[in-house]
Structure formats: C-alpha cells, structure tokens
Symmetry: D5
Subunit: 139 residues, 10 copies
C-alpha cells in the first residue's frame, strides 16, 4: 500500500521520535534498583495491511545516571500512532531509543500485542551494558 | 475407523502442511530476543474416535535469521482441522516443521488441549540448535 | 469401621487397579518432552471416617519408551471410587503404579484434596530414573 | 491491658497446645515428598489491643518418620482462639511445635494475616534438619 | 509551583518522618525469617504538578535485632500525605529510613503507583547488610 | 448395562434416601427469610454409561415450620454416590424429597453438572406451597 | 468462493443435521423447570471468507413432553464443522431445529462467537409456545 | 456439651450484646438512601459441636432517624466470639437487635458462612417498617 | 488547538463515516432477536487536549429488515482514529449513524472509555422505533 | 480533635468546593442517556479519629441541559483531601453539589469506602427531578 511509510522513512521517523524523550538525573546512582513502566494504550499501523495494531508496552530497567521522564515517554509512544511498523521491529526500536537516551545498566522491553486473526504475539528484548547485573528478585 | 488418515498419510500431510509456512528476515539478528505466539483456536481430529480435539498452541522462540509470518502460520494451523493426529504427535510435528523452516536458536511448543472424558492434557516440547541459550527472564 | 478395606486389602486392590493401565509407544523417544495430565474428578473414601474424599490429581512426566493411554488412566482413577485409602498413601501408590507401567525418565504426581474440617491438603511426589533430567522450562 | 495473657503464660500455653498434636507413621519414608496444609480460619488475640486477629496458616513439609494427623492439627490451631500472641511470635511458635513433634526433613510455615489499620502482614519461617533438601519443583 | 516543598525541605521532612518509626525486639533472632508488609493506601503529592499520587508500598525484610511496629509504620506512611516527592525518590527514602531504624539482614521496598496519563510505574529497591542472605523460598 | 439400578429400584431407593433427612424447628416462623445451601461434592452414576457424574447442588428455600439439619443433608446427598440416575431426574427427586420433609413456603434446587463430552448441563427446579411468595432481594 | 456451500445447500444440510437429534421423555412434565446446556467447542465456516468460526452455544429451555439427548446434541453440533453458515443464521437455525424436535414450552439459544478482526459477536434468540411462561428466577 | 451456653442464656446474652450498639443522628433524613456494611471476620461457636463457625455478615439499610456507629458495631459483632448460636438464629438475632436500635425504614442482614463438612450456608433476612420502600437500584 | 477538527467539520466527517457502513438482509425478520457486538479497540482524539482517547464500544440491537456487516463496522470505527470528538458526542453519533442505516426495532450503544486523570467514564444511549419492545432476557 | 474542621466550617467548605465544578452544554438533550463516572482515588479525613479515609466514588446521571466537565470534577474531588467529613455526609453532599450544578433528570452517587477496623461501608444516594425516569437497561 503506497500510502504507508517504507522502512527508509521508518529509520528517519525513529530519530525524530527519539528526540521526544527527556530524562532526569538518577538521585540514587550508587544503588541497583528497578523501574517498571507499563504503557497500556500503544497503537501503531501494520505496514502490510494498513490496519491499526494495539498493544501494551512494559519497560523495566536499572538506571545508571539517568531516568526517563514519564510525560516525554508518553509523547514518544504516541508518535507511533500513525507510523507503519512491524511488531518485532517496533519492540527493538523502542529498546534502542531508550538505551541511547538513558544508557541504563540493564533494560527489558516487552510488547504484548492484541490478537490479529485469532493469533496474539508478545516480543521481549533485553539490553545490558557489560555483564548482566544480578537482577532484583521480585518476591 | 477406516475413514481416518493413517500414520503413513500423516507424514505426507505434514510435508504438505509445512509448505504453507512462510518466513521473513529477522531485522535484529545480533540480539537474542523472544517471540511468543498464541494460537487459541487449534482443532484436529482424534484418530481413534474420529471426534474433534480442541486446544491452544503456544509457540516461543529466539530467532536466528528468520521469523515466521503470522498469516501463513494461521493457514498452517488450519490445515490440521480435518486431519487425524494424536496430542503428543501433533505437538512434536509442529515443532519439527517450525524448526525445519526457521532454524531458530531456541524454540518451545506448548499445546494445551481441552478436557476429554473429564481429563485435560498439555504437551511441552523444546528444541535448541547447539547449547541452550541463556533464556530471557520475563520479569 | 469394620466395613472399610484394611491396608492389607489395599495392597491387593492396588495390583488390581494397576492392571487397568494401558500404554502406547512414544513416537518421539529421542527428545525429552513433558506430558501434563489433570484429573479433576478423583474421589476415594477416608479409611478412618468412611466419608468420601475429593480431589484433583495432576500427573506430569517425561516419557521413555511408553506413554499412558488416557481412557485407561480414567478407568484406573475410577477404581479408587469406593476404596478406603489416605491422602499421602494414594498419592504415592498412584506414582508407584504409573512408574511401574511407564518407566518414565521423570514423573511427578500432585494431588490437591478439597477441604476437610476447613483444612485443605496437597501431596506432591516425584520419581526419576537415574539422575534428574533437566526439566523443561514452562515459560 | 491486665486481662491479657503475658509472655510468661504464653510459654506455658504453647507447651499445652503442643500436647494436642498427634502423628501417624510416614508409610513412604524412603522418598522425599511434600505435604502442604492450609488452615484458612486461624484466629488469635492481639496482646496489645485485645482485638481478635485473623489469618491463613500454610504449612509445607517433607516428612521424615512422622506425619501430622489433620484433626489434631485443627484442635492445635483452635487452641490459639483466645490466646494473646503477636504475628511474628505465633508463626515461629507453630513452626517450633511442629518441628518438635514431627522432626521433618524440611518445614515452612507461612502465616498471612488480614489487614489491621489498612496494613496486612505475612510471616514466613523455615526449618531444615541438616542441609536443606533439594525441594520438589511444583510445575 | 511555589507552594510545594523543595528538595531541601524534603531532606528535613524525611528526618522528621523517620522519627515516627518505632521498633520492638525480634524474639527469634537466631533464625532467618521473612516479614512482608503491604500498605495499600499510600498517597503523596507530585512536586511538578501538585497533583496527588497514590500507590501500594510492599516492604519485605529479614530482621536482625529489631522489627518495625505496625502502628508507627502507618503514622510514618501518613506523614507523606501532603509532601511533594517523586516516585523514585520516595521509594529509596522509605528504604533508607527503615534500614536506618531496623538494621535488617535484608530488606526490599516495592512501590506500585496508580496510572498517570495512562502510564503506571513500579519501583523496587533492595538493601542487604553484607552479603545477600539465602532468601526464603515462598512455595 | 444390567449391573445398574433400573427406574423401579430408583423409586425405592429415593424413599430410603429420604429417610436420611432430619429437620429442626424454625425459630423465626413469623418472618419470610431465605436459606441457601451449596453442596459442591455431589456424585452419582449415569444409568446409561455406568460412568460417574459430578456436580454442585444449590438449595434455596423460605422455611415454614421446619429447617433441614445440615449433617443429615450431607448423608442424604452421599446416598446417591453409587446410584444410577439421570441429571433431570435426580434434580426433581431431591426437590421432591426436601419438599416432602420440610413443607417450605418456597424452594429451588439448582444442579450444575461438570462437562460430559465437552457439554455441561444445569437443571433448575422450583416449588412453592400456594402462591409464590415475594422473594427476598439479594442486594 | 465457489468451494463453499451456498444457501440452498444450507437448507438441505439443516434437515440432515436435524435428523441427528434424539429425545427422551420428560419424567416431570407437570412442573415448569429449566434445563441449561453449554456447548463450548462449536465451530463452523464463514461462507464469505472460508475461514473457520468458533463459539460457545448456550441452550436453555423449559421442556414440555421431551428433552434432548446430550450425545445426539453433540453429534448435531459437530455436523456444522465444515458447513458454511453466518452467525445470525446458525443461531436461528439451531433454535428452529431444537423447537421442531422438542416442542418446548420456552427455549433460548445464545451463541457467543470469538473475535474476528478484533470484534466479537453474540446472538440471542428465543421461542415460546403460546404465551411466555413465568421464567424461573436463578438466585 | 455442657460447657456451651444454652438457648436460655442465649436470650440474655443477646440483650447484653445489644447494649453495645451505639447510634448517631441521620443528617439527611428527608432522603431515602442505602448504607451497606460488610463484616468479613465474624466468628461464633456451634452449640451442637462446640466447633468455631466463621462467616461474613452483610448489613444493608435505609435509615430513618438513626445510623449505627461502626466501632460499636464491631464490638457488637465481637461479642459473639465465644457464644454458642446456630446460623439461622444468629442472623435473625442480629437483624432484631439492629432494628430495635435503629428503627430503619428497611434493613437486610445476609450472613455467608464458610463450609462445614463441605457444605456452605447463607441466610438472608429482611425487615421493613410498614410497606417496603422502593429500593434503590444499584446500577 | 487550531490543528483539531471543529464541530462543524465533525458533522461533515460523521456523514462521511456513515457512508462506510454496509448492511445485509435479516433472514429471520419475523422473530425478535438480539445481536450484541463488542469493539474493544476504539480510539479517537480529545478535541480539547489533542490527546488520544481509548475505549470499548458495545452495540446491542434487535434488527428489523437489516443487519450491519461486521467488516464495514470495523472500517466505520477506524474512521474515528484521528478525529477530535468528545465522549458523549461520539456515543450519540455512533447510535445515530447505526439507526439511520439499520432502522432497528431497538438499539443500545454503550461506550466504556479508559481512565483520564484517574477518572473513567461510560456513556449508554438507547433508541427504539415506536414503543420499546419486550427485551430478551439474557439468562 | 480541635485541629479538625467542624460541621459549621464543613458547610462553608462545601460551598467553596461546589464553586470548583464546571459544566458544558448537553448536545443531545432530546434523548435520555446515562453517563457513568468512576473516581477511584477519593480521600478525605475522618472527623472523629483524624485518620485518612479512602474510597471510590461512582456517579451516574441522565443529563438535562448540562454535563459535568471531568477535569473540574477531579479538582472538586481533590478539595476533600484534607477536609474532615463522615461517609454518609460526604456522599450526600457530593450529590447535593452536583444536583445544584447540573439539575440532572436523574442522578445516583455511590461511595465505596475501604475497610476500617475490618469493616467496609458503601453509601448509595439518588436524586430525580420529578418522577423517576425509566432508567436505561444496562445489558
Ligand atoms: Ca535477590
Ligand atoms: Ca523466557
Ligand atoms: Ca537475565
Ligand atoms: Ca530449559
Ligand atoms: Ca516446593
Ligand atoms: Ca526437580
Ligand atoms: Ca530456600
Ligand atoms: Ca432471593
Ligand atoms: Ca423486596
Ligand atoms: Ca431463568
Ligand atoms: Ca419466581
Ligand atoms: Ca439496593
Ligand atoms: Ca430507581
Ligand atoms: Ca437483553
Ligand atoms: Ca422474556
Ligand atoms: Ca429500558
């Protein structure tokens, strides 16, 4: 469908999207701790069918020097609303953008998409700076 | 029951089914990440009783070079609708077919069948290429 | 209560029960995989009070050469309907009978009984042939 | 509050309570297996306020030579009905009494108390004889 | 917004808050055991927007010589009602205050905040005295 | 199946079962009020297949002069354990027996049976003495 | 799609399907009572797309002289497995067939279909012989 | 069991219990409105077995001139802790006591008791002053 | 915000949207029956803030001569994706458009919107042709 | 407690609170329709104990000429944060304020408060202009 953004445009758009992210200084950098953020109202467009996709994005990270500002994250997520991008790609791109901005010790992005044709998909991607830190045990 | 496909036919059918699967290129092959797919409307036929079986198939994998295209996976699953095949067999055959097509770093197929005679069954099968990769922790 | 079977009879009955179990050949013996079976309508009789007991039996195993046939398993479970046997004992006896018939690589029996006097009990028993196999990760 | 039992009385009461516990012989001592018991209707009295406390006690153990008889356990639990004892203390005392009677290979007592002042508390205590046994995996 | 406490005031307030915490002696110090406390009605004020924040605070710890008295903990939590403090900060401050008062062997604070702008956040922070103790297995 | 009780025997058995029911005097006969009783562990035998049936029986009534004694009701329900009787029939027979014993102002019996062949059934039967009373509103 | 049955064939098929239904005599015809039957594994084919449809069919009725035999109902439902028929139509046809066979005092068929394109549908149809009977109150 | 209070004592005790109830003035008497109160931690003693009973008491009423003070209601409920009284009786007695104190326009008491011998009971009793008011519709 | 469509444009847009709806003939017009349709992935834009709104639209109707075609309904719903329209207005407009197209005997539109600023809203609107038909009882 | 607002102040405060409410014009006044609004994060202060109260306020109404603007409603609700007011009173006052502002055809306020001393309360109040309108059936 020619009205949809192609992959080339996509790369450009991602750089634009990334510019929306803002950070604030981690006030407790000497301690490993986990921040989990859930964004239940994510929507983008399927590049193949032009149909809207819907999902929930879960971001979990151990901050280094910076934390993501939540209102800017919301704006960043809304920037995908009318962009054509596949499930696997958008999950990796969101991780890449957040890692670029925050340089976290560890980060995971998990994207749960609603069913299409009766089939539902979830993509989970992880990043860590050097060696994986000992993750906190959620009891 | 002579109207049901025998095991011999079954093997042939599986090769036909496998031909329905299509793939697309993994755009992030340098990173281990997990793709989970749930197919809640799987149905086949019990070779012994001729009665329909119903279940949910969960597929999880870490892609190497290829990912499975979801619409083709749906067609592949529908191909079992009128085929006679037992629980343990169909779960292993689905894993075999997907491994043959995708050559993933790791893959698990989990098939949860609805009760028959008050008894419900779930079959879980795993494949990994050489050594099992360090699986992602879903937090 | 003299109308209840004693432990001696119990042993005999178990041998009779075991005779009800039938098996079929594992078609994928070269691969470790898990079979989970849930039997929600188990009932037996308390040897002490003569009152009926009710519970759900969960069987999980990694087959070697044989799998249990589900209809015969149902008949085996129904054979306890009017037999007097305690919680801890019946769970171990079911494991023993299934291990004797199937010689699995690994097997667990978990019996969840409904409350008696406001108190509910669950018994979990495991068997493995030599060394415990690396169990499959249910994701 | 002078109408409440003090800690000294408490110790005496515990010895009396412990006398209510009865055991039966473990018929499968050669095998490590787990017994889980839930007592949802536990109630005692707060020594500070004189107000009733309510909770659910979960006991899990791997028996050595003896198992606890359930009706006697119920009587033991009811003995706390009008005794003044704090959360942390009663959980440890129940574990101590059961360990004294059963000498289990491993035992855990988990006491979940209902909210007081909008705040709910859970206490978890464990005992093992020498080295902690390899606990059974509940799948 | 000039009517909100600044970070400087914040530090002072925390010292005042900490003074509200009271302790009692751990009666079973020779045994590692876990105390979990849930405070579902936590509320503070966002320093940026002046809007109220709401959340549930989960505290889990292995006591050394002291346990926190629950009524004083409730008063401590209520002291944040009209204080301006960010999510990440308040979670770390609560852990710091409790560690200062109790000197526990291990402690985790997990703060689950309700959605703002459709986005929900959870912060998890841990402290241990020297080496992390072998945590209890919640079965 | 010749080993199963026929309908003729059934009628006789019902009279025997009914003899198990005991009553106590309603202490508040001047007021319409509702008594709901749930029996989750009902089991009988299918006269056609010889297979056990399982279900939950809900009894609701407005007493006149008599209430049913719960322990005798339990014995009455257990009397069906090895009797062959169909769903529709046993629900009506239980209502008939209770009406005969209690002569209530109004009574409903609702029997929810577990699935057979993937199909679950619920039977609901009502009795009232003369005109249906104004039922209580459960708010 | 020319391989799908047309509406003309559909009518013929329905007559064939209806022939599968068997009945048994209502043993309590002098009393209005309700029979609810749930068939969770209904599947047919969409005449427009050729894709399988899945749903749960709930049948509720007050019998006159006849009740539907459950095994024959299962066979009747399975007859739709490879037939092309729309949601609204199949719900009305099932009601028509059951009314023709049972001549019930009142009957309702409620068909809940799983989502297609993210949209789920439920169709509810009722029949009564002359005047609607006073329905039983499910308490 | 001679240590249990008899019915005669029971009547006396009820008068004592009733004395614990306190009221406050309804500030909006010109409007019909509903007050629902749930007491989840009710416990008394079975006069027949001496065993503790547990339940949740739901009180709903439309006040006339007076409302019940909640702390006094809590004390009133705790007064049953060691009193022997049957399910049907305690529900009616609670209604009687509250009606005597509050003279409400309408009141319902619904007592849900936990299972005994696998059987659970709920008792629902209503009072209204003259004609039943038009109850509020909870939407 | 000048980039948002004004109410005038809104009216025009609605006429365009309505043109997307397609119908098919009701094959059972002589019978009152209910069609319920749930659209869980509705999204539009708040005219005041420019922020996206999300909700689930439930449509229930009794058809006269026409039923709405589901794929066209999906396209109709997607047309609101980038239109600025308030909660109350969009619910009434959807009802108006569907009534104009289908001329149903009765129709209800219920729109459940996700929380904004911690507050969630649901709008319910009904239409009936002349007198409200006797609605079907969903049992 | 002298630091708490007395009833006299309360009345004044309510007038101040009411001034926070803003309205917008109902665009569909010729049709009866329902607007439901849930405010889950309501908090005020108990005038007797000085302790914070927490609850969820559900508002449902059929508008006449005006609808309540949601952001102003949020500000109105937050105004109670540090005001001392009892459950029954605040529910009636909220209804009075909204009725004064909106003059709705019908309105219900339902306030569900979290447990205090283990006891939870819900207050439901209704207003209608002249005769109660035929409420919409939520299906
Ligand atoms: Ca850890
Ligand atoms: Ca994983
Ligand atoms: Ca990891
Ligand atoms: Ca593994
Ligand atoms: Ca374990
Ligand atoms: Ca293991
Ligand atoms: Ca451990
Ligand atoms: Ca009722
Ligand atoms: Ca009434
Ligand atoms: Ca009904
Ligand atoms: Ca009725
Ligand atoms: Ca009501
Ligand atoms: Ca009303
Ligand atoms: Ca309806
Ligand atoms: Ca009707
Ligand atoms: Ca209506």
């Amino acid at each position: 469908n020619s009205s949809l953004p192609n992959q080339e445009e996509n790369r450009t758009v991602s750089e634009e999207n990334r510019g929306l992210l803002e950070t604030f200084e981690n006030q407790h950098p000497n301690r490993d701790y986990e921040i989990e953020i859930s964004v239940p109202e994510f929507t983008s467009v399927c590049p193949k069918t032009g149909q809207p996709d819907f999902g929930t994005i879960h971001i979990t990270y151990i901050p280094e020097a910076l934390c993501v500002e939540l209102k800017s994250l919301k704006m960043y997520m809304q920037a995908y609303r009318n962009q054509g991008i596949f499930y696997e790609n958008v999950t990796n791109v969101i991780l890449n953008d957040l890692v670029e901005c925050l340089q976290p010790r560890w980060m995971q992005v998990r994207a749960e998409f609603t069913p299409r044709g009766g089939i539902s998909s979830t993509i989970t991607v992880e990043h860590y700076s050097e060696t994986p830190p000992d993750e906190l045990t959620v009891i």
